[in-house]
């Protein structure tokens, strides 16, 4: 099936040479790889070039084939209005639009709400320029909001529990939606001695996302799939990730890291998540009934991430390790990642859909730092109350 195909590749003819990192995101143009069939996925980036690349690819060509009428999908994204996952819907919508699909994004709440003054919502005009529709409202009333509009695919990138997702899923069934996709969370996996979290591993019995996943599975969608993300970076993010490190590094402050600093986490560029979702849309049969860890394929330690952020910023790094209990602070408030090994691998996406990761933290963090400086956040006055409490208890002097 020939659908819209966008390639971002190094110089022809060899698709296996040189860098395959995607070009930096510019305001209007985004070249994402859209995998449309198994044969095309084979032409994806050769891993070695990505690992060794020191400079982003400068010779990029794109082929845009208009989607054949039969293959064009009408996609509804129900998007949260805040939090780490908000940016997923934005990238997904952009990628679908550039592949020639029709996209409507239904964001929770009001267009006039203060929450809309933060990214990615501040960039929603890009979706409209690309031919997408953006609407606002209560997902429980999704039928009323979209009216008679027909959709082939629905992505719920909003609900964490059944109460929130059920109305959307039920409506989707009644409206003849063929494929239902759900953004769940890798946080539902039971922490075990063996790592990583792999699709099929035990999940926490009381996790609310689990009930949603089970409910979806029991409905009669032609295709349904669940995506479990961890943390992500990327322009348009709604929640701080790498910024937490940059804030301290540019101000020559020590970076307080709980525990040993050896804890593993998974930080993906959000384009990895949108490419996986797009692949599922374009391979709905293969993706049917599957759980996908929606993450990059590398772990990084807390210390390692701090190091990479400092390298991206071209600054010195000082790390202080501390025991949250001994200091008397809640690590959840003091540090942006859960204080334990939390590492899932995207094995199902690779095996079932031939998906490949394009996250390149050293490169991606450089881009993120450039934007961090561009928006002037390095100069912004900031308080570091919790940090100060930690440093005080460890008797570490901070010269600012």
């Amino acid at each position: 099936m020939a659908a819209a195909v966008t390639f971002a590749a190094p110089a022809l003819p060899s698709l296996h040479s040189s860098s395959c990192s995607l070009p930096p995101l510019t305001h209007r143009s985004l070249s994402f790889v859209a995998f449309t069939s198994p044969t095309i996925t084979k032409l994806s980036f050769h891993r070695s070039s990505r690992r060794f690349s020191s400079a982003p690819s400068t010779s990029v060509f794109s082929i845009k084939a208009a989607a054949a009428a039969a293959d064009k999908k009408r996609v509804l994204v129900v998007n949260t209005n805040s939090g780490g996952h908000a940016v997923i819907g934005f990238y997904f919508a952009q990628q679908l639009l550039s592949s020639g699909h029709e996209v409507t994004v239904l964001t929770v709440g009001d267009e006039s709400s203060d929450k809309m003054k933060k990214p990615p919502f501040t960039r929603f005009s890009e979706l409209v320029s690309a031919g997408g529709k953006t609407v606002w409202g209560n997902p429980a009333q999704v039928g009323d909001i979209v009216g008679t509009a027909k959709f082939d695919v629905v992505l719920d990138n909003n609900g964490k529990d059944l109460d929130t997702v059920k109305p959307v899923a039920d409506w989707a069934i009644s409206a003849g939606v063929e494929q239902f996709l759900y953004i769940s969370s890798a946080g539902i996996y039971k922490p075990l001695d063996e790592i990583p979290h792999v699709e099929g591993d035990l999940v926490k019995d009381d996790a609310s996302h689990v009930l949603v996943e089970k409910y979806m599975a029991g409905l009669s969608f032609s295709s349904w799939a669940v995506f479990r993300p961890q943390y992500m970076i990327g322009s348009g993010n709604n929640k701080d990730c790498e910024e937490w490190f940059f804030d301290r590094i540019v101000r020559d402050r020590p970076v307080p890291i709980p525990g040993s600093g050896m804890q593993l986490t998974n930080i993906a560029h959000v384009r990895d998540l949108s490419s996986m979702l797009s692949l599922a849309v374009e391979n709905s049969a293969a993706a049917n009934g599957k759980i996908f860890n929606c993450v990059s394929d590398r772990a990084v330690t807390f210390d390692g991430l701090a190091k990479l952020c400092a390298q991206a910023a071209g600054r010195e790094l000082k790390v202080i390790h501390y025991d949250p209990k001994a200091v008397g602070i809640d690590a959840k408030k003091a540090f942006p990642f859960r204080n334990m090994h939390f590492y899932a691998e995207p094995r199902a996406a690779k095996e079932i859909m031939g998906w490949t990761s394009s996250t390149n933290l050293p490169e991606d963090l450089k881009e993120r730092f450039d934007e961090y400086v561009k928006i002037g956040r390095d100069k912004k006055p900031m308080q570091f109350d919790i940090d100060d409490k930690i440093l005080e208890s460890l008797k570490v002097a901070v010269t600012v």
């Binding site: 790592i195 990583p196 590398r298 090994h341």
Partner: protein, 385 residues
Amino acid sequence: MARLVAMQPRQASPWASSSSPLLPSSLSEFSGAALSISLQKRRRTWQPKGALQVTASGAKKILIMGGTRFIGVFLSRLLVKEGHQVTLFTRGKAPITQQLPGESDQDYEDFKSKILHLKGDRKDFEFVKTSLAAKGFDVIYDINGREAVEVEPILDALPKLEQFIYCSSAGVYLKSDLLPHFETDAVDPKSRHKGKLETESLLDSRGVNWTSIRPVYIYGPLNYNPVEEWFFHRLKAGRPIPVPNSGVQITQLGHVKDLARAFVMVLGNSKASKQVYNISGSKYVTFDGLARACAKGAGFPEPEIVHYNPKEFDFGKKKAFPFRDQHFFASIEKAQRELGWAPEFGLVEGLADSYNLDFGRGTFRKPADFTTDDMILGKSLVLQS
């Protein structure tokens, strides 16, 4: 002269210990059946069709450098069962063959009658060159080579060599903040394993059809590196397990039988030509988690774990812990994707296999030595009181 080895679906694998009540029979049957199926599948894909093929015979004349201690013990059995002519090149210090725990007398006699031995010191390069040239081999499995210079005489002796399969090590990877290691990651030319790297480079430069396997930590019955044995000694003695620093360091163990199967799967496999493969277990584990897994596998209660700062001690030449004190794990997805190989042993099952066939029967390679433990525990006691 095609020669097919009859494969029965439920053929007992060399390590299915049907006689052992400790090993769940379902696992041994599964091992045997899965082994047969995977070998059958592979044969179907590389069995030549038509008279244009140069070699119609499936059977190879194989030389294993080493083969009497650990990996080779299992690998040689698989190869012999496949119908290949297998020679072991060793100095003869260890017995050429030994009956494996759980191996039937008949299986052992059959293997013993077929395996060949070439006695020599591989450091005697002249002897290696002349003896190998005289005998001629189709395939070399180099299981014990450490330095590139050791491989040169082998290549010189066998200009028509079909394949050189090398046991390298994931220890060649440059330490990284981004894990797991993939085969394309940077390697460390200064590592303790640089001889392995230099060997890989030599193989590539000589234009020979080579395949390199990079295991992480290998475990299983007959392991001469005290990996699981180190834990078993302490568990048996009811002693706490001293783990350096936080205990959240992540390592990875791969069962020797899964490794042996991977070695067989690259034989005659054109996909494996000039390729490197990480081979290990499917999941990784923390140091603390491994202590608990060893206890589970061996049927001991959950152990007490004591963390310590290694910098506070001078252990001299003694090793206080069997693993490098860092995260160290590699992705096996390339082998899974390209070779259709997959590890059969999960960690706890694999440790149970090792325990039931080795340590649990009273056998081990290194006797227990709790000197460093006592240093650590003594200090801990002092700190507590």
